[in-house]
């Protein structure tokens, strides 16, 4: 393996602590910041929808990072963040027992009722 060492200089600065730094941007450093899941509510939306995830040192920074990463194009008016580790997810391998029993139970859909005309917005 060849070790490539690329140095970049900015405006003739003497390379000590240059822009971008060198070496401290390692995977471990990034991994030290916990992962957060971001939920955004759009202007028209009533609910917060999952927008993605990001790294941040604490909740406050997560909100600000989310603002910069996910609302730059006016996507939202409200942000929720939650540390990813607090989310419990269902196991895809259990999809069979969890979801398939519902497939043949069409009577669970309220499609067998005749709605009176007076009832709107159903």
């Amino acid at each position: 393996m060849k070790n490539l060492f690329i140095q970049k200089f900015y405006y003739g600065d003497i390379p000590e602590e240059k822009a971008g730094g060198s070496g401290y941007q390692t995977k471990e450093d990034a991994a030290n910041w916990p992962l957060w899941e971001v939920f955004i509510r759009s202007k028209q939306g009533l609910d917060h929808k999952h927008a993605g995830s990001l790294h941040a040192a604490d909740a406050q920074m997560a909100i600000e990072n989310a603002r910069d990463v996910y609302t730059r194009r006016m996507e939202g008016v409200s942000i929720w963040v939650v540390e990813s580790k607090y989310i419990t997810a269902s196991n895809p391998e259990e999809a069979g027992e969890l979801y398939e029993p519902a497939v043949d139970k069409v009577y669970r859909h309220p499609t067998f009722y005749d709605l009176p005309d007076e009832v709107n917005h159903m």
Partner: protein, 243 residues
């Protein structure tokens, strides 16, 4: 009178342009992806502000002047930006501190500017102050985080204060053309705000430091030449080049 207004508008435009250019050097080099985006956003906010000021200056000057000619075709000695804006990025802490010291000042300045009787400048300030509010919030939190962080980050912040503090005095020394807002009156409240943040960040506020001035009159540190060389390269090498 009109010349003073032009110079003042250029001063506001130049400071925001040069700081935007400095911050943009981080694009693709930020310590972490999310912060890379954050500092680039701030850079773009400042660039947007500078465009508004340049456009206004161009209408005041008239003739062939455009926002582009003012940004790309003026020489070092014609630039009236604050010395603080042109200082190198250094490490992340130094960039953060530069942003905080300036944003805290810009907030107080725009607060006054939005009430001034020049409609155009007042409108630009009123539009920009929301951005500035966020810049202050973002950068002050980082100053606290780094100052009150590890021994390493604390030491780097001390060094950054040592590098940058001498350029803060200039903000409050009015230039001849600077008559719309009395910046000298902003000094105490700026110091109070900085004191609160520095105290929380366990950082000392320097006392009786030497203050370098001159930026507002076009007397710059050696840094500005390098910035303009890169910023203006395309227009100098290919005059009138368009996208």
């Amino acid at each position: 009178m009109k010349e003073a207004l032009i110079n003042y508008t250029l001063h506001l435009a130049d400071t925001t342009l040069i700081l935007a250019q400095r911050n943009s050097e981080w694009c693709g080099h930020g310590p972490i992806l999310e912060q890379d985006i954050a500092i680039t956003n701030i850079s773009l906010d400042l660039l947007g502000q500078s465009r508004n000021f340049y456009q206004y200056a161009a209408t005041l000057i008239g003739g062939d002047a455009t926002e582009d000619s003012l940004a790309y075709l003026r020489k070092e000695r014609e630039f009236k930006n604050l010395l603080l804006a042109e200082q190198p990025n250094g490490n992340w802490g130094q960039t953060i501190l530069r942003q905080y010291l300036y944003s805290q000042f810009q907030y107080l300045l725009f607060e006054k500017l939005q009430q001034c009787n020049n409609e155009q400048l007042a409108a630009i300030a009123a539009k920009s102050i929301k951005e500035t509010t966020y810049h202050v919030r973002w950068s002050s939190e980082w100053v606290i985080r780094l100052g009150d962080g590890t021994e390493e980050s604390h030491t780097r912040m001390l060094k950054a204060i040592d590098e940058l503090w001498r350029y803060t005095g200039e903000m409050f020394v009015p230039a001849v053309y600077e008559t719309i807002v009395d910046v000298s009156a902003l000094k105490n409240v700026w110091l109070q705000k900085v004191n609160i943040i520095f105290t929380e960040a366990t950082l000392p506020v320097p006392e009786k430091a030497f203050m370098q001035t001159g930026g507002k009159e076009g007397k710059h540190t050696e840094q500005l030449g390098y910035i303009l060389t890169e910023l203006q390269y395309m227009q100098r090498a290919y005059p009138g080049a368009q996208w």
